[in-house]
Symmetry: C2
DNA sequence: GCAATAGTTAATCAACTTGACTAACGCTCC
DNA sequence: GGAGCGTTAGTCAAGTTGATTAACTATTGC
């Protein structure tokens, strides 16, 4: 990291972005509060707020009352200063897109979804226009679009890998979308976004770090280290389906997918006399012996994760994790304690909405904040 | 992170620390170079350099020549502006301490070691005094001491865990050392320090991230993510000895220590007709069939690591890893390719000196730099 | 009417920049 | 081989930007 150097202009830009960041983080503050936190003087605070309100980035949302003296103005970041769009891409029978438009405060302003077999670029563009119309915004006013994908995005190569949705594996797609939409387009793995949702709206709010095991048709793992997601060399971090089980080679080789992937869960359910169409249905209908057996397999995979990462918490999420709930999480905890010296806490997901879309929404909102703050710092507004 | 706000004093402090950081990072620079990189004007650069040289933090080390115009002064950070001490703690028969005193440039100034059964505090203090005397420095002039420990230091609780060296498990020891020495005392796991050595003096210089498997009496793993080490919730990240092998329970339970720990390696060697006193001797004397069998076991453990983290590189280090060299690394690569779809690169360590002490030296030097830079930023020197 | 507080104004101060200037060095031309 | 010229390192002086201090005005509650 290069440390910053510069002249008084840099100083003003820094003070403005520090102030805006405080308003974004803490919600509502008076000038006095800002003075206290930033350590700036009264006239400077006033000048900074004048510029921020002139630029439409901050607004007065009320006045104090009760104490002696004149009432102080209460400021907040202007929620309408920017809008971002979160889109969750899914493959059911045909490509399906769910989208939410939210403002700078993270409030949902519009929601839409579309089932489209066509080229992703016009499909996304149409969805974005639809949302803007619904929200009564000028088309193109959403400066940031966050995609949630069932695959991994390699930003260096500009290509989405391991994705089953037709049309979405085309190299350069994300860049094409960015130019077509005139917006920054971010893309991330659905499991990673579910972890973001878990941190901000689930059970992982208080912990320093955690791992989220995504347990659906396939297996995945998101690793959140102090709020930053670990992606790995080629976006392959968390591919725990490949964790080996036993020393078998060739045809005897077994990995965690063979043990706890969708088909394996259904087979295990059948062994226990449970007839279900999907793994999550099997788990929801599960008898204690079946859940015990499944928990032991999950604990096996998590033991490897815990031995490598030592996270304070592992969250069980995805369709199966949610269906299993506390009953499954408690059994996994017991199985882990019984088989290893690791005492990592295990919990079921606390997110009730669509975790991928929700996570994309949080990610979009945060990226938008960052964008606005750095824009302020880089290009000091003209007098 | 709170963004900085402040007045012109902050600006000066920022410019000084940015300039000093550049000198520390890049070695030697002229005023013109500094001007270009920082974007500051000529008079400001001169003023900053005048202050840095007055404070003894920078020195003129030469003059340019050859081109037209007057010769420009070449500056460098003053190596004698600060000294740090690295100490590696080991348990052989009795506690053994190896120590190096180095200057701000990382150059070794003095070296000493001592075998002491006594209380760690006087032992370390004596060693530190000895080094200062050797180097001709005023006692107490080393402001930073970095310990390398065969255990994990829990800074929050102030206690060193999982350490076998007598006297070193006492709670509050590190704080006691800091007050006794009048210096900042940092402590870290020996495997983590070996990873730091590997990044700066071994084969991991160019990669973004890597994992280092420490393979000696016990098994350990250090995880370097972009230059930052992952420590885990309770300093337990990288305890890969606990990675389970197969689904056995109770007495049948097997983990990676059972498979590839010191006794297991010796047993495997014996099966192959190799009689050796230590695992590293067994590996050094190893026949191809033995190495193949061992590589397969190592690859099993690394498969779990690679599936979770997806590092671009895994380094085999420790006594056994070094003894195995490329022969072992190549066999592990082949075994990993044969048993999983992961194509992580595997290499033998490139560090030839004592990796723990070397890593502690690098860590100490970097912490000292950081200390000097932040001191400069926090307390602007009086005029 | 008084005490306390929000916010503004005016004067001052600190730090950086611009542009001009001095001085040193190497090259070239006579 | 020496004088002159172009180029470049570094300094000086003036001006600009932005923050601070301290005084002042105005508003509110008691």
């Amino acid at each position: 990291m290069t440390r910053l150097a510069g002249s008084s202009k840099l100083l003003r830009a820094m003070n403005e972005s520090a102030t805006l960041a405080l308003l974004l983080d803490r919600g509502t503050l008076t000038r006095g509060d800002l003075r206290e936190i930033t350590g700036l003087s009264k006239p400077t605070t006033s000048e900074v707020m004048r510029r921020l309100t002139d630029a439409g980035l901050a607004v007065v949302v009320g006045h104090t009352s009760g104490g002696p003296g004149p009432s102080a103005e209460i400021y907040a970041a202007n929620p309408a200063a920017g809008h971002a769009i979160a889109i969750s891409v899914r493959e059911t029978q045909s490509p399906h897109l769910c989208a939410v438009l939210c403002d700078l405060a993270g409030t949902e302003v519009a929601r839409a979804d579309v089932t489209a077999a066509a080229d992703p670029v016009p499909a996304v563009a149409g969805l974005v226009d639809d949302l803007s119309r619904q929200a009564g915004l000028v088309p193109g006013s959403a400066r940031l679009v966050q995609l949630g994908l069932p695959g991994s995005y390699d930003a260096a190569a500009g290509v989405i890998r391991h994705i089953d949705v037709p049309g979405w594996d085309r190299p350069g797609l994300v860049d094409d979308l960015a130019t077509r939409l005139g917006a920054t387009v971010a893309a991330d793995n659905d499991v990673n976004l579910a972890a973001i949702a878990e941190r901000h709206h689930g059970v992982a709010g208080a912990v320093e770090s955690f791992a989220l095991m995504w347990f659906s048709g396939g297996l995945g793992l998101a690793i959140d280290l102090g709020g930053t997601l670990l992606r790995g060399a080629r976006g392959g971090a968390g591919e725990i389906g490949y964790v080996p089980v036993g020393l078998g080679r060739g045809a005897d080789r077994t990995d965690l997918t063979d043990l706890a992937g969708g088909p394996a869960v259904l087979a295990l359910a059948a062994e226990h006399g449970i007839d279900a169409a999907t793994p999550e249905a099997a788990v929801a209908a599960g008898t204690p012996p079946f859940l015990d057996a499944l928990a032991e397999r999950i604990a096996y995979g998590l033991a490897a994760v815990a031995a490598v990462l030592d996270p304070p918490l592992i969250v069980l999420a995805g369709d199966v994790g949610r269906a299993g709930g506390d009953a499954l999480a408690d059994r996994v905890t017991a199985a882990l304690r019984a088989s290893t010296p690791l005492d990592t806490a295990i919990a079921a997901t606390g997110v009730t909405e669509d975790p991928v879309l929700l996570g994309a929404q949080v990610a979009a909102q945060h990226a938008l904040r960052e964008q606005i703050i750095t824009t302020l710092r880089d290009a000091a507004p003209a007098a």
